[in-house]
Amino acid sequence: MRLRTLVSNSTLLLRVVQSIDKLSKSAILKLTPTRLQIIVITELDSGLQLWCDLAADAIFKDYLIESAHNNEIYVEFNIDNLQRALRSTQSGALSVSMKLAKRQGLPVLSIIIRSQSGSGHEVSLIQDVPVRMLSAQQMEQIQEPTLPDGQVHFMMPPLNNVRSIAERMKGMGDRVAVSANREGEMRVRVANDLVDVTTYFRGLETMTLDATQEVEVDGEFHTAVIDMKNFLRFLQSYHVAPKNVVCCIVEHHAVIFYVYVGSAGYGGAAALNETSCGSLTYFLPVRQI
């Protein structure tokens, strides 16, 4: 098993890891010859899940990966450790590289940061992030949630607006109903015995992910009732391209958010697939009563 690579875009990798920092303590890193995937599962079946999929060449250069199982490597790591290691890459590094290594018999992801000291000498900083190796069978068990097709897909309004409003609504209930129709309207509703608040966002761009499917434009709202806590976790976690977020409502099942990574500026639905190098997909399951 071997992993050795230059990290050509450590900033992007850091931002992705920062996005998942508040979701959980640990995450799974799945590396294949072409893709880098990060998976966070908070509670099986009922919790928020994050599946991040990035093109390896958006982050790595001179990428060497070898293993007995399709040249894929799977590890579990502590998010905070990796975040701290990646933060060290941000202060004027000449180059960053990463490899899988063993320290005292235990596997680590070793991140080597080469920079220039004040006197002109090259200095190397090594950050070792302990990891737990996962077998192919263990990885097999971890699958993206299977869900029916969503009823409506649309571009989210600016996330910081939605976040500040949701934060003020959070005291009113632990469940939030997220609804949308195909006319570009989204509703966020929280209620308890004393107060019932519905906030409307309008003028949103709707779309279908399947170009052949005809979009019936109608005012019917489709709703999924999710945990307020998970909704806030998603809203508070964006560090990458907060302008290009697609929301999909799968009635009675989940709310899914697709955050497209690497797109520059807001290009609307059309620009999503062109300029992005991957995505973060947040699954927020419907709250079980």
Binding site: N161, E167, V195, R202
Partner: protein, 335 residues
Amino acid sequence: MTAVHGTATEFVPMLFRAKLANVRPLVNMLKTISFRPRARCIISPDGLVFAVEESQCLVAQAYLRAELFTTFSYNVQLAEYYRNQEQEAFEDEVSQDGEQSDATQVVLPLDNLIECLTLFYGPAGTSASSTQSSSISATNLYTSGNPGDLRGATTAVIGFKGPGADFELMLEERGTISQCRLSTFVPEPPVDLRFSHYPTTQQLIIQSKWLRDAFNELDPTSESVHISIASTEPHFRISTMGENGSTDMTYSNSERILDSFFCNEDQENQYNLSLILKCKQALAMSDKTKIRINQRGFLSFQFMIPTSADVSFVNFVFAPLVSADEPVAPATARV
């Protein structure tokens, strides 16, 4: 949740409807009395009064005159119709002292009302809460106290259909709309400290900045605060005696400090300090404060708060703890 009032096809007329171009003045007025979870809202052709009471010895009221609203409509005939309906149902209802005969009273959750009105205020946790800071500084009715809050104005439409209905709010800011419904409750007879039932024996108007200074000096470890007003020097004295020693603020009847002064009878009374401190926010927003004490030693603070139209008022009435017979510790600072 309260039951749906009427069906989609049944038209239920609005008893009360008002529009506000900017919710800030309303929010800041409500925050002056927001130390209780529920408030009584009294709707009349003159405007709205929000009232809270605590421990049967403090009553606070914030007055919002109809002129502060962009539009204000209250259906007096409909109000009378509902009142007659209630009286038929409860034959032995006693009419309240001092209650306006054409007013409608409803109790609603005050903290939720403020939460709804501040929905578009921006990130939570960054707004300054002056109840947390120990010293009072002047604030403005039109600011949120948070210098980082640069958002535009939230407009609001407030509506109420009548007894049993929800209190409705529709808020809007830059295209985003929020509809809020607050459950209402049947009001119980109000706590009436009956301040006006006894003659006012002492009255003065002081510029609020002096009173803020005095409040900042008060020792919060003291259980009570002594307030004495006399026709001889020192005319107005506020003092506490706590674990850290005693504090004493005195004011003389000089034009520079007291706008007016009237004293029929020298009196010194004690009041519960923690209750007195509940008026900090109202004091922070006011220009001037009118202080009155009646024959029974009940204390009234009337805070005059500048608004676009004129002046808005917030009233606090406190019952005394005990009428002190001995004078307090000797004077120290003299203003």
